[in-house]
């Protein structure tokens, strides 16, 4: 099958590559660009482990072909940390609040949380839960993920983080 040339930006770097039309973006990122942060957890577009940030949108990279991403500006978990290399507030929040266990859903979850906090700088718990409803987790039960995102929101807003009483 003839390959197509695509040009896009990934984590701030310009990338040129040849892909088959049927190559899913997740496979392109993982296999050709060696960005193994985003993961594959299903084949029916439910789990969200493959979530990346594409042109300012949270996108399940398993449900888009790499050719469709020609010209796009993509950020994966590998590009979430701050420019100076320190952890993004969300990454810090996940560690502070124990928002991960096996780590498999984490890249997609953090990448989604990144866009969620761009959409809504101060989400309520309900808005957070609705905002991450496209990302499944089997380990944490989501509660600490919510706290992690609240921690991050507070930090990004320069506000103190109030932990809700148990």
């Amino acid at each position: 099958m003839a390959k197509s040339q695509i040009e896009l930006k990934v984590n701030g770097k310009n990338v040129e590559a040849l892909v088959e039309p049927r190559t899913l973006l997740i496979h392109f990122l993982r296999d050709q660009l060696n960005l193994t942060g985003p993961h594959i957890g299903c084949e029916t577009s439910h789990c969200g482990a493959c979530t990346v940030d594409l042109d300012g949108k949270s996108v399940k990279s398993c449900t888009i072909f790499a050719v469709q991403a020609n010209g796009a500006d993509i950020r994966t978990i590998e590009g979430i940390a701050n420019a100076d290399g320190t952890l993004h507030a969300i990454q810090e929040g996940f560690r502070e609040m124990h928002g991960l266990q096996c780590g498999f859903c984490t890249p997609g979850m953090i990448t989604r949380a990144y866009r969620l906090l761009q959409e809504n700088k101060n989400p309520s718990e309900e808005e957070i839960r609705f905002g991450i409803s496209g990302n499944l987790c089997r380990c944490t039960g989501y509660q600490n993920i919510v706290r992690a995102i609240q921690f991050a929101a507070a930090k990004l807003n320069g506000a103190p983080f109030q932990e809700a009483a148990e």
Partner: protein, 292 residues
């Protein structure tokens, strides 16, 4: 997980897309948001030899008022529907429905056109379009035509679209100011298809129903326009006895599949419950004269 191979096309205009699809015939499929088609391709339930990506066609985007109608380009995403101030103001039913479709990521890419065009009985927008009395702008090699949503759905994955035609936009007559609306969807979890859902648009005058529109989702192999239920309710005060008769009329047109969501008999009953709750919520939202 891996689709069969295909050739990828990215036309820059509707004409180019239509010409391509006409040439490819059954060997070509239009690609909109891809969140119905690509999952099917990954399971190899669909294996089109060619994909015609509509994403490069600017004319297919946008939400605008056109006289008494609102026209929405087929490639408008669910996210864009939710963000549209015009729609929030004029047809809030759409936003309420979009927020109940799938999840945030799917809504970023999934399109209105994709949701209404492929004939999947599980999709939410078709019944809403029937409820709104919308029509679809369709372009094919023989030119343009307009098909009423209420005439569009023929069976599961069977629509009035002919091979090579592309749904380019949706035209919705703007509901009267102060109308009540609701999309009530019962589902097993967020993002699921409906166990049963009901879309209602309501206007009231002098405490009575002046007009009533009802669409039902996923309780037959097509979306349903509950005309008889509408007739029963029109002119009533939405009293319990009339609602009961309307619900019975709505249930009577359902023939839901028995699946993991429940047996057909349960889903029929749920269509009725969703209709009742949608009517209740729509009524509570009616504003202005007649809302008493």
């Amino acid at each position: 997980m891996i689709p069969a191979a295909f050739t990828y096309h990215r036309p820059k205009s509707i004409q180019e897309a239509v010409a391509l699809l006409a040439k490819l015939g059954d060997n070509g499929r239009a690609l909109a948001g891809g969140h119905s088609l690509i999952p099917m391709m990954k399971l190899r339930l669909a294996a089109p030899g060619n994909l015609v990506d509509l994403a490069g066609i600017g004319e297919l985007k946008g939400v605008r008022a056109d006289g008494n109608d609102i026209v929405i380009g087929a490639m408008t995403t669910q996210h864009e529907l939710i963000e549209s101030n015009l729609l929030a103001d004029k047809i809030p039913l759409l936003r309420e429905t979009s927020l109940q479709i799938a999840d945030p990521q799917v809504r970023y890419l999934g399109t209105l056109g994709g949701n209404v065009a492929n004939g999947d009985p599980g999709n939410d927008m078709p019944a809403v379009m029937m409820c709104l009395g919308a029509s679809y702008n369709v372009t094919g090699k023989n030119g343009e035509r307009r098909i009423a949503a209420r005439d569009f759905y023929q069976g599961a994955y069977l629509t009035a679209l002919e091979t090579g035609e592309v749904l380019t936009g949706v035209r919705i007559p703007t509901p009267a100011a102060g109308h009540g609306w609701a999309y009530e969807k019962l589902k097993r979890k967020v993002g699921d298809y409906a166990t049963a859902a009901a879309a209602v648009i309501l206007t009231m005058k002098g405490g009575k129903v002046e007009s009533c529109s009802i669409g039902l989702t996923n309780v037959a192999d097509t979306p349903l326009w509950a005309q008889e239920a509408e007739r029963i309710l029109t002119g009533s005060t939405l009293d319990a006895a009339t609602i009961k008769r309307a619900v019975a009329a709505a249930e009577a047109i359902t023939s839901p599949a028995s699946d993991a969501r429940g047996p057909g008999q349960y889903r029929t009953k749920m269509a009725g419950v969703m209709l009742t709750r949608a009517l209740d919520r729509a009524k509570s939202r009616v504003r202005g004269q007649g809302s008493e």
